[in-house]
């Protein structure tokens, strides 16, 4: 089961690489656009549009990455007082809900039809000279939520291992998640 968990989280980690470099690109791009316009009065429409296009991979691939690295926000007023088993139970519930939300959101409604509609229209920017292929941007919604479901499955398995006393090392539930990838 541990092997499955690592496999799933390996996928999340790879998607995270795309998100991390999108982030770097965003910083460089916005700054360049500002400086190019100020010093050279150059301001291409596609580069401006590309600024907010980069948010999609950052935000949508980032959510499962944040969940994997336990960077989600939770209220611990009661959680901290639960026994490890009790916490694992809450974690299990949370993970199951994550899967439900992700699957519900990604597949049932939007996943395909929203992106598909955009693909059929060959939707591009309404601004002449803007970026084409808007369906690629929209495809990050189903991809991002599918990744969230995978991370939910991994969390679910981990909580089950803890509940059945089969977690090899209690610290591995958190320590492996908080360290920075090398």
């Amino acid at each position: 089961m541990l092997h499955v968990i690592h496999c799933l989280e390996g996928i999340i980690e790879r998607l995270g690489i795309i998100a991390r470099y999108s982030l770097l690109a965003l910083v460089v791009l916005v700054a360049s656009n500002v400086l190019l316009r100020y010093f050279f009065s150059i301001s291409p429409v596609p580069l401006q549009e590309f600024e907010w296009h980069l948010i999609s991979p950052i935000a949508l691939l980032g959510i499962s990455y944040a969940l994997k690295h336990r960077a989600d926000v939770r209220v611990d007023v009661f959680y901290d007082r639960f026994s490890p088993k009790g916490r694992a139970l809450v974690d299990l519930l949370g993970a199951l809900m994550t899967i439900a939300i992700a699957i519900g959101t990604a597949i049932a409604w939007l996943g395909l039809s929203y992106t598909e509609q955009s693909y059929q229209l060959m939707e591009g920017s309404p601004d002449p000279g803007g970026l084409p292929y808007r369906y690629l941007l929209k495809a990050f919604i189903p991809i991002g939520f599918a990744a969230l479901a995978l991370q939910g499955v991994a969390d679910c398995l981990r909580a089950l291992l803890t509940l059945t006393n089969r977690m090899p090392d209690a610290s591995s539930t958190t320590s492996s998640n908080t360290k920075v990838p090398s």
Partner: protein, 340 residues
């Protein structure tokens, strides 16, 4: 028999309308002839048999998601401008406004009696949509400039907030085109991040406070000589309406088309006088040489656009043929009168 007719026609229709503009926007959301006014009119005219619940941008869906929502049938109607969908249907631009195209009178003539509306319906039908004109801002302003524009050279390196087709034309003349959301126009223009900004007309622009940020107000509405508000309807839902309700929707849209423009004419007249007399704004047309150059580039841009897409080519041809014919008439009628 009369009792049976009443029973048949007592079915009520509860529809939803989304809007591409935010809550409270005058003309686009509130006011005489606005989309919310349209919903009230339909309800009153139908004796309550058709109720349309209105949602401003962000209330149900974000501003520019109306196309998808209506096409998929989640909501039945959307208010906005056809040119917002230019990324999906390139020819949609022509159903809002065409740079150096026709003014509101000509546009209405083309839409209602020159084959424009038929083309509009023809293009929208495959997407499961139908549309009607439901309002008009009338001619819009070139925009606010921090420095006067005397020659074409003055445009070179100018940083301007201007979306859409006009932006592409300006870019050809060396303008650095900046896309900015409405709320950021004021701070950006005020601090000189941009040197110029196009928005709507005197009434709306004054609301944004643009007169505090720039004093040269150019009035040649070359880029938007008219601006049609679009009522977009899901085609299947439209066809499910009984004939009398269809007639009511059409009539209400036509009423709003007239009333909203009349309202704009009146408030813009007041606002422009106020801006010039009390706010130290210089209102003037662009120099002839600049207009001539803009016209050259516009014509080339439009021709290129038409060449890239057969549907656009058809609409372009119909629009231009009508314009050329209408121009002659306008010259001897309106132009002569306005020169008095």
């Amino acid at each position: 028999a009369p009792a049976i007719v009443r029973a048949e026609s007592s079915k009520t229709y509860q529809w939803k309308m989304t809007n591409a503009y935010g809550p409270g926007s005058p003309f686009y959301v509130e006011g005489p002839g606005s989309p919310t006014d349209f919903c009230r009119k339909v309800e009153a005219m139908s004796g309550g048999r058709m109720k349309i619940q209105h949602f401003a941008a962000g209330e149900l869906i974000p501003a520019l998601e109306g196309f998808n929502a209506v096409a998929s049938g989640v909501v039945e109607m959307n208010a906005g401008n056809a040119y917002f969908w230019a990324g999906k249907i390139p020819a949609a631009q022509y159903f809002t406004t065409v740079p150096f195209g026709m003014n509101t009178q000509g546009m209405n003539a083309w839409l209602y009696h020159g084959g424009g509306l038929e083309l509009w319906h023809e293009l929208y039908a495959p997407k499961g949509l139908i549309a009607f004109p439901m309002g008009n801002t009338g001619v819009q302003m070139t925009g606010w400039f921090r420095k006067p524009i005397n020659t074409v050279e003055d445009l070179k390196g100018l940083k301007m907030r201007i979306p859409g087709l006009a932006g592409k034309v300006y870019a050809e003349l060396g303008v650095a085109v900046r896309l900015l959301p409405g709320g950021e126009i004021f701070p950006a223009l005020e601090r000189g991040v941009i040197d110029a900004a196009e928005f709507v007309g005197p009434y709306q622009d004054r609301r944004l406070g643009l007169q505090k940020a720039a004093k040269y107000y150019y009035t040649t509405g070359w880029h938007e000589p008219t601006n049609v508000t679009e009522l977009m309807i899901n085609k299947a839902a439209w066809e499910s309406l009984p004939e009398d309700l269809q007639a009511i929707v059409k009539a209400a849209a036509q009423a709003c088309n007239v009333e909203s423009q009349a309202w704009c004419e009146s408030v813009n007249a007041e606002a422009l006088n106020d801006l010039v007399e009390n706010e130290g704004v210089t209102a003037q047309p662009l120099p002839d040489s600049v207009v001539a150059r803009l016209k050259e580039v516009t014509e080339k841009t439009l021709t290129d656009m038409a060449a890239a897409d057969p549907d656009t080519a058809r609409v372009h041809e119909s629009f231009m043929a009508f314009r050329d014919q209408h121009k002659e008439w306008a010259a001897v009628s309106e132009k002569t009168f306005l020169a008095l």
